[in-house]
């Protein structure tokens, strides 16, 4: 079952002088098993959009189908726990949600809340900590002694240990060094490709969108501006300009070559592919 938004509107603090329309009649479908990037300017409604997915926010109008659950505006959903187990949501700066004495306990907190036994939770925690790159020597350390990047890994492991089917990440690489960010993105790709999790990621980094994602959803002023696959997205140079997006280096290079008369297909999305194309073009002229 996919994720389907149907005419969803969200108004913050409705009926007060502070009322604010964050999402305006959004209709959107996200395929199961896809790796989708959600992009848009700050304040465009990206976070509001994803926080509906595990019913942290409820629609003011419209409805939302998440897996086998239907969330509508007029009815308060019951048994949110089963939904929240299926949809794991990693917040912006998730390191701020750590609170336990040891890393192991903190990672076990989620699964135990969803009914896992002590042993199951522990096994899952060890496995997920390894996946995010923290070995067993960390288990009994306090999470507050770690570096910022390591804290973030622990927090993400805490969500992964719940074994959600859908993984939603709100700017998971913000504030990380480039190497750390890349490792993190590779981890999400692995979760998507090897473990077949549906991944949604809110991001500002176009390099990540280009190298890791399959689909792109562009949010602007509470509306869906465009939804397409990554190749098509980076082919639409006009739209990129209009959205004031600085394209990834490879795309810039491709466009510069095109301007100088190279005929390059839209699948030229890596340095290797570009180099090969240039090589064959040059050979043609020799």
């Amino acid at each position: 079952m996919p994720i389907r938004y149907e005419g969803l509107t969200h108004i913050y603090q409705e009926g007060t002088p502070f009322s604010y329309l964050a999402l305006d009649d959004v209709s959107l479908e996200i395929k199961e098993g896809a790796f989708t990037a959600i992009i848009g300017e700050t304040g465009s409604g990206k976070t509001t959009l994803v926080q509906h997915l595990n019913a942290l926010l409820l629609p003011s109008k419209g409805k939302l189908q998440v897996l086998d659950r239907l969330i509508t505006a007029d009815q308060k959903p019951k048994q949110l726990k089963s939904l929240r187990k299926q949809v794991g949501l990693v917040f912006q700066f998730p390191e701020y949600q750590l609170f336990e004495e040891t890393i192991l306990k903190d990672v076990c907190f989620g699964p135990k809340n969803f009914g896992a036994t002590e042993e199951e939770a522990r096994d899952m925690a060890v496995k997920m900590l390894k996946l995010v790159g923290l070995d067993e020597s960390y288990l009994d350390q306090s999470p507050f002694e770690l570096s910022g990047g390591q804290k973030r890994r622990v927090a993400i492991a805490g969500i992964l240990a719940m074994d959600p089917q859908v993984l939603v990440l709100d700017e998971p690489t913000a504030g990380l060094d480039p190497q750390g960010a890349k490792e993190m993105m590779d981890l999400f790709v692995e979760l998507n490709k090897t473990y077949h999790k549906t991944v949604l990621i809110v991001t500002h980094d176009m390099e990540h969108v280009l190298h890791s994602c399959d689909e792109v959803v562009v949010v602007a002023k509470g509306k869906i501006k465009k939804q397409c696959d990554v190749t098509t997205f980076f082919e639409d140079v006009e739209l990129l300009k209009q959205l004031r997006i600085d394209p990834p280096a490879v795309i810039k290079m491709r466009e510069a070559l095109r301007e100088r008369g190279f005929s390059l297909g839209k699948d030229m999305l890596s340095i290797e592919a570009l180099a090969k194309a240039i090589q064959s073009e040059v050979q043609k002229h020799e």
Partner: protein, 284 residues
Amino acid sequence: MNNFTLGSYMPYDSLIHRLDPRAKIMGMIFFMVAIFIPAGYFPYIILGVVALVLLLIAHLKLRSVWKSMKPMLLMMVFLLVINLLVVRTGYVVVKLGDFAIYSDALAQTFYIAVRLVLMIMITTTLTATTKPLDLTLGIEDLLTPFKVLHVPAHEIAMMISIALRFIPTLIEETQRIMKAQASRGVDMEEGKLKEKIMAVLSLIVPLFVSAFQRAEDLANAMEARGYIPERKRTRYKQLKMAGRDWIMLGCSFLLMAVPILIAMGYLDPLRIGSLFLEGVGYAL
């Protein structure tokens, strides 16, 4: 937590919003004094009418006052019970075997309730019509004369303004952490006692961690910009008393004077009433 009414600014534009914060604070103090002077029921009628009119002018809804009063209901019930048990003057209203309810007990409770309601009305009017920062500027100015007595006016004002500044931030932070932990399966409403304790813990620990972090960052940022509390500082926003501010001050002073004069016996509410009626008679 979005219905955090007590002490939250409502961005309307009204006469009361435009008044000088110092005048408003002084006005509130006069009003408070008037509330606490025991001069019978008559001043409360005037004060009640004034408070209602102020709410109306400020575009505030009675509902918001009611909301901030709700937490006090339990206290009022408690007071009523205590008064019924303790006060034994006046005439007997109801007699149940050995236990009697006296009229003064009811009157006492009624007065306390009225005072509380009036207090909430007037403080709500002040905080809902004055930006927190203006409020602290006003407090700082009003405290300046006490510098002679070594009252650190500026430091107090700075502390208040920092505290006020971080209330919304901390509320936001709380909501964010609550959402994050809800995503990890925390249920703040249901669950056994142990789970509830765990839920509160999972909220409080991160909140404290980030609050201390913020405090440290703020202190560093202030020091990095050379903040020294004792120095004379200039202000971007200069407060100026206009004519309407003086008029407001005068009116609120009169409002305080009436119950004082009544309490001291210089003024008879019945006489005021009859004079008022005569006046109406002449006018007609």
